[in-house]
């Protein structure tokens, strides 16, 4: 099993550009999440999804959009990139409700200059 995969691993964007961060999981998990990790700040939830077609905002959703057309995929869209979006982005998934465990992907390091 590949688990949770993310692409790209690294990306440099210019201010105002847009991009999509890809996330795919092969564990048939209903729950999926997008986090950003800033130095010394821990993980902040951007968006999450409880199943295909259902998404909801997390703690820091401004400047981002998501979609969930399939169980496997949960892309994160950045529109009009800003320097404040420079961060490491992690996608995660979770299976059984109440199990608690989240499986994380390897992350995407994004720099906006």
């Amino acid at each position: 099993n590949a688990g949770v995969t993310q692409t790209p691993k690294f990306r440099i964007l210019k201010i105002g550009q847009s991009m999509t961060l890809q996330c795919t999981q092969d564990m048939n998990h209903n729950y999926m999440y997008w986090y950003r990790q800033d130095p010394g700040m821990g993980l902040k939830l951007i968006y999450y999804s409880v199943g295909a077609g259902i998404t909801d905002k997390g703690e820091v959703p401004n400047g981002y959009n998501v979609s969930r057309s399939t169980t496997e995929d949960f892309p994160l869209r950045l529109e009009l990139a800003a320097p404040s979006q420079t961060s490491v982005y992690f996608c995660a998934s979770s299976g059984r409700p109440g199990s608690g465990e989240q499986y994380f992907g390897p992350g995407t390091r994004l720099t906006v200059t």
Binding site: E101, Y103, P106
Partner: protein, 114 residues
């Protein structure tokens, strides 16, 4: 806003020593407390977790202690090894949370000296 506090921010331990990381929360409605381990350049991975109906859970060299009345939980790493050098995050899951979302602590960077 729900919050999980974590200390220390960084920790240096000699090989063979005990590493202790503490977390505290301010909301009683949590029902799952995982600890995640993250190596540089990697995503976090579940290390050990506890539910509030037990006060301690041990898995190998890793032990979680949970004090429900004090709203505190801690991770103890016995016989710390250089391979344990990583960032550790505590987290808490609110009861009945729709999205099974976690509240994460800010992390502790552990360095184990050989």
């Amino acid at each position: 806003q729900q919050q999980v506090k974590q200390s220390p921010q960084s920790l240096i331990v000699q090989k063979g020593g005990i590493s202790i990381i503490n977390c505290a929360y301010e909301n009683t409605a949590f029902d799952y407390f995982p600890w995640y381990q993250q190596f540089p350049g990697k995503g976090p991975a579940l290390l050990i977790a506890i539910r509030p109906d037990v006060s301690e859970k041990k898995e190998g060299r890793f032990t979680i202690s949970f004090n429900k009345s004090a709203k505190q939980f801690s991770l103890h790493i016995m016989d710390s090894q250089p391979g344990d050098s990583a960032t550790y995050f505590c987290a808490a899951k609110p009861v009945g949370n729709y999205g099974q979302n976690f509240v994460f602590g800010p992390g502790t960077r552990l360095s184990v000296l050989p």
